[in-house]
């Protein structure tokens, strides 16, 4: 059973190198298989899955002449804008509500039952209602993205406040800290590791919801590209749309991670746990 031991014994630096090289090799091999199956031997017909060159030409197509009502930069801009707006709006409303629920037992008792009946409804199920209320434009999408990101940010903020060490709170009390400073210097920093956990979940949910909402109906955006490509039976463009969504999701998660590291730079324990 040597393999188990190696996990615990291998030196950090050595392992990382090995990991990266195996990872790169895997991705290279997968790309080769992709090429071989599509262009090379033609086992997978191009009507089912695009070859690398078809994907490349679809990318040129959408970024040059444009596709589905605009060029790539415009679709990316629209999707990104909606996600950022819905997400920020959800933070601005969800985090304070979570703080309130975590802090005041009365607020918790009052609000929790409402949450319990709304929470089981998946965010995507709000899309038809949002379209009925607000139409196919931006506001309906912001509403559903807000909703999908709101729930995780409330719940995690709330759990974060509950996880603050009791002695910290008691010390603040005993020293007679004013309310405003208490919220800014004890409550928010204490809950922030959990708040960021919630925000990561919120961000993921925002992208899922945005893509779904744009697939159901939109004028611009990456979901619109996917939708038109599906109707046109254009596999190359579908793949381009999917890759674009994945890159944006990854990029925004990275930005959030950087904000987290910066915001929690005082918290050595949390940083050590993150690695």
């Amino acid at each position: 059973m040597k393999k188990y031991e190696s996990v615990y014994i291998t030196l950090g630096g050595m392992k990382v190198q090995r990991k990266v090289s195996i990872g790169l090799a895997t991705i290279f091999i997968v790309c080769m298989i992709w090429f071989a199956l599509t262009t090379g031997f033609g086992i997978v017909p191009s009507g089912r899955f695009p070859s690398p060159s078809e994907t490349w030409s679809a990318l040129i197509h959408v970024s040059g002449r444009g596709y589905g009502g605009g060029d790539l930069s415009m679709h990316v801009y629209n999707s990104l804008r909606l996600v950022v707006m819905g997400f920020l709006f959800a933070i601005a409303t969800g985090v304070p509500l979570g703080l309130l629920m975590g802090w005041s037992r009365k607020a918790e008792a009052f609000i929790n039952p409402i949450f319990l009946i709304i929470r089981p409804i998946p965010p995507l199920a709000w899309i038809p209602l949002a379209i009925l209320w607000l139409g196919l434009g931006d506001s309906a999408k912001i509403m559903v993205i807000w909703f999908s990101a709101f729930v995780p940010s409330v719940i995690n903020t709330y759990a974060g406040v509950r996880n603050i060490d009791r002695p910290v709170l008691e010390a603040a009390y005993m020293l007679g800290m004013p309310k405003v400073r208490f919220v800014a210097e004890v409550l928010i920093p204490g809950a922030s590791p959990m708040i960021f956990t919630g925000l990561r979940l919120s961000l993921q949910a925002s992208w899922t919801t945005l893509v779904a909402a744009e697939l159901v109906g939109a004028f611009y955006g990456l979901g619109r590209v996917l939708n038109v490509a599906q109707q046109d039976l254009y596999p190359g463009m579908i793949l381009v749309g999917m890759i674009a969504v994945a890159i944006l999701g990854w990029g925004t998660t990275r930005v959030l991670g950087m904000v987290e590291t910066w915001a929690l730079r005082w918290n050595t324990a949390a940083l050590a746990a993150k690695g």
Binding site: R48, F49, P128, L132
Partner: protein, 261 residues
């Protein structure tokens, strides 16, 4: 922490919260400030719900749509569990597999399950195959990740003890690694059931021709807000039932393992 309150107080406050929520909704709907086409009152939604239990809308009654949805969900979810759990366990046990699969898995994970809709429709059609693939895409990652964690973070002392006593490798897997990963696997199943159910709804809104999501889209097209809301209630109830069932399983297993805090 804020002041503690008694159980009685919290029940009263909770009821107050629910009443004010429903009351506000009802008040807004009845007052006529918002036309009832857009915001029907809770009573109208309830009426519509009970009507849909018997009358067909968009090709089936509400239980019929739910049955269609649930069938797809069950296939997609089982497929995800059957492939995802063994993959995760193997990744946790064999480092080389972990190193090969992880980069691919991480890259694929950033694709929202719903973004698979066009390929799902292209490959498997919009009947039952396409939605199953999307549910699979939603439910698969948590199965893999939790099985992986369960297998990877087994107490090394147990493995060392088994090795020292000369336990053969297949028995180590069957009697130590597998049982030790069960709690994590069950938690993963709960998460993936939630994500799978949510992906199902998304898939049905876009591509299906039956199911609750389809019913809601038809309701939206006919500007029947009551139908849309009745669909939301039905989806919420089924999701809640699924989650409670798996939460119960999780609790039972944790109790048997003495892991409960």
């Amino acid at each position: 922490m804020g002041k503690q309150i008694s159980l009685r107080q919290s029940i009263i406050l909770g009821l107050l919260g629910l009443t004010s929520f429903v009351g506000l909704w009802h008040g807004l709907a009845v007052s006529g400030m918002i036309p009832s086409v857009f915001l029907p009152s809770p009573i109208e939604v309830y009426d519509r719900f009970t009507t849909l239990l018997e009358r067909r809308f968009a090709g089936a009654t509400l239980p019929g749509h739910l049955a269609a949805s649930f069938q797809r969900f069950a296939y997609g979810f089982l497929l995800a569990a059957l492939i995802g759990i063994p993959l995760g366990l193997l990744m946790g046990w064999y480092q080389i597999l972990d190193e090969i699969v992880s980069p691919l898995f991480d890259a694929l994970r950033f694709i929202a399950p719903i973004a698979w809709v066009p390929f799902a429709a292209l490959w498997f059609g919009t009947g039952i195959g396409g939605p199953i693939m999307i549910i699979f895409a939603g439910a698969f990652p948590p199965c893999v990740i939790n099985a992986y964690r369960g297998a990877k973070f087994v107490d090394p002392r147990l493995i060392e003890a088994a090795n020292m006593l000369g336990t053969p490798s297949h028995r180590v897997i069957r009697e130590i690694l597998l049982p030790a990963s069960v709690p994590s696997i069950v938690s993963g199943l709960r998460v993936s059931a939630g994500l799978g159910w949510q992906s199902l709804v998304g898939a049905e809104l876009i591509v299906a021709s039956a199911g609750v999501g389809y019913m809601m889209v038809q309701g939206q097209a006919n500007v029947s807000t009551t139908t849309v809301m009745a669909g939301m209630v039905a989806i919420g109830l089924v999701g809640l039932a699924l989650d409670s069932a798996l939460r119960l399983a999780e609790r039972i297993i944790q109790r048997r393992r003495g892991l409960e805090n």
